[in-house]
Symmetry: C2
Subunit: 298 residues, 2 copies
């Protein structure tokens, strides 16, 4: 890949393409319009589209056009959105707000929120399968589906959510906390990077370098999230903040203090960038995304 002179502008264009693709997903003829409305509501509620951008940036970095991967990129966003809908449910985190708007179950009722989440998760795999058949790359698409399923499932995101719920109100040490974060948010971010890389036909060495980048990024991202939760107010974050503290949820800032947590996020950021060196490719896009994920204010 040639060096991209303005990675920020480049990512904005990609993000625009992702938004457009996502907006076109909810007009399936055979589905109840109420269900599609709830799905669209949550997917269009905003968000930075970091997972789709990671898919496309990883592919671009290895010389594969990012826009070819829009269905895969969108699949990652759908899995992320479904997890937010289910996490917000009364039986789980019981959140009334998400991204500054009523959470899905507050807007459409609990039954519809459960089903909208189920349908988004299912649609993610439909998109990946459709991509593989359309592009004539079945083996790579299957590998992508496997990555996505593992990252999203019992040994990934869902497993992390279980550990997170079980840890509420209990003493959790640093190791336990990093395990929760690695599963709950890290696994899907890492899958985003890996899916893009697999589509680009990455070598084992390239995958290893990208894993190093993504795993650190995931942890740094979660620490930033926890710091914002601790410090932010509802208006800024668009969700109920300080909520972790109220529920007695263990977070790294709560465990180590704000200053040490901020330092740890910075270290992880540096390690993530250092991992990219082994790629021996210009990786401005991935560096820019790391910067956005770690040094954000909302």
């Amino acid at each position: 890949m040639k060096k991209i002179s303005d990675p920020g502008a480049y990512l904005e264009r990609q993000r625009h393409a992702v938004e457009k693709f996502l907006a076109g997903l909810f007009d399936a003829g055979g589905a109840p319009s109420s269900l599609q409305e709830a799905m669209r509501y949550s997917v269009n509620a905003g968000g930075k589209r970091m997972r789709p951008l990671l898919v496309m940036a990883a592919a671009e970095t290895l010389g594969h056009p990012g826009e070819k991967l829009l269905p895969v990129a969108a699949a990652l966003e759908l899995v992320h959105t479904y997890s937010l809908i289910h996490d917000d449910l009364p039986a789980m985190d019981d959140s009334d707000l998400r991204r500054g708007k009523p959470s899905c179950h507050r807007a459409y009722g609990e039954a519809m929120a459960i089903l909208a989440g189920d349908a988004l998760l299912t649609l993610a795999f439909e998109l990946v399968a459709g991509y593989g058949l359309q592009e004539g790359r079945p083996a790579q698409a299957l590998q992508i589906a496997l990555e996505l399923a593992r990252a999203a499932g019992r040994e990934g995101m869902v497993g992390g959510q279980v550990l997170d719920l079980e840890a509420e109100g209990k003493a959790v040490d640093l190791e336990g906390l990093e395990k929760i974060d690695r599963l709950k948010t890290g696994a899907l971010l890492q899958a985003a990077v890996r899916c893009g890389a697999i589509a680009a036909g990455a070598s084992k060495e390239q995958l290893k370098a990208l894993d190093g980048y993504a795993s650190r990024l995931g942890l740094a991202f979660q620490i930033t999230d926890d710091l914002l939760d601790l410090e932010g107010d509802t208006a800024e974050m668009g969700k109920e903040t300080g909520a972790d503290r109220v529920r007695g949820k263990a977070t790294l800032p709560a465990l180590l203090g704000t200053e040490a947590a901020r330092r740890r996020a910075g270290e992880l950021y540096c390690e993530a960038l250092a991992s990219l060196e082994a790629l021996e490719k210009p990786a401005e896009l991935l560096r820019e995304l790391a910067r956005r994920l770690v040094f954000r204010t909302k």
Copy 2:
């Protein structure tokens, strides 16, 4: 395929293989044991394993060994099980019993039930992807994943569940009712047959014949279910029966009367068997499964 002299015994052997395969699924090292316990509880709660058997019988009928498809067969059962767990939730059908035992949320709590369902759905796609990579049949596995996702998602099972919830307490005509049934239960039964057929390399004509079989079977199955709900008692069905009537849910027996509904199920059964004629293959297994699905007492 040679004519199978004792399809009943043959299906029992296949069913045994399915049980064994399912029992081995819940020891993944990286997943929380509490989550796996809830998943195992619901998957092992019994059930006739009709969807896995349909996968394997469809493949066998077209000359492909059924046991090669155990991961795909299991995937169908996991999707079915996840749908039961989520349907039973308080926000949905609010059922305390399932197959004679406490429903998943009664046994493990609501949060765990939501997450166990999510994890089972995700694991289904993991199994299909793993099957395709291991067997070196990526294009067929992708086609199977696509079938499964479409049948399970917004234009299939989840869509049907939405329509079903929205129809509660409202007047629904025969056409509306058959649409709900076709999506809510028919789509996944049909997908089971189609997945087995695709794995066996079915021709378009064969798929068409099997579609004819499966679509009638799905409707007949649902009518039988509704009749049993209407007539049965809790001990026999192992779930709360008469519950449809209490919630004012429209069913075909409620709309047409018991006798007409029974006749309709019988007609659909005959049409299903007639569709198999076009296969020009001995299809005792599929005939036997139809018999079991339609003429059952629980």
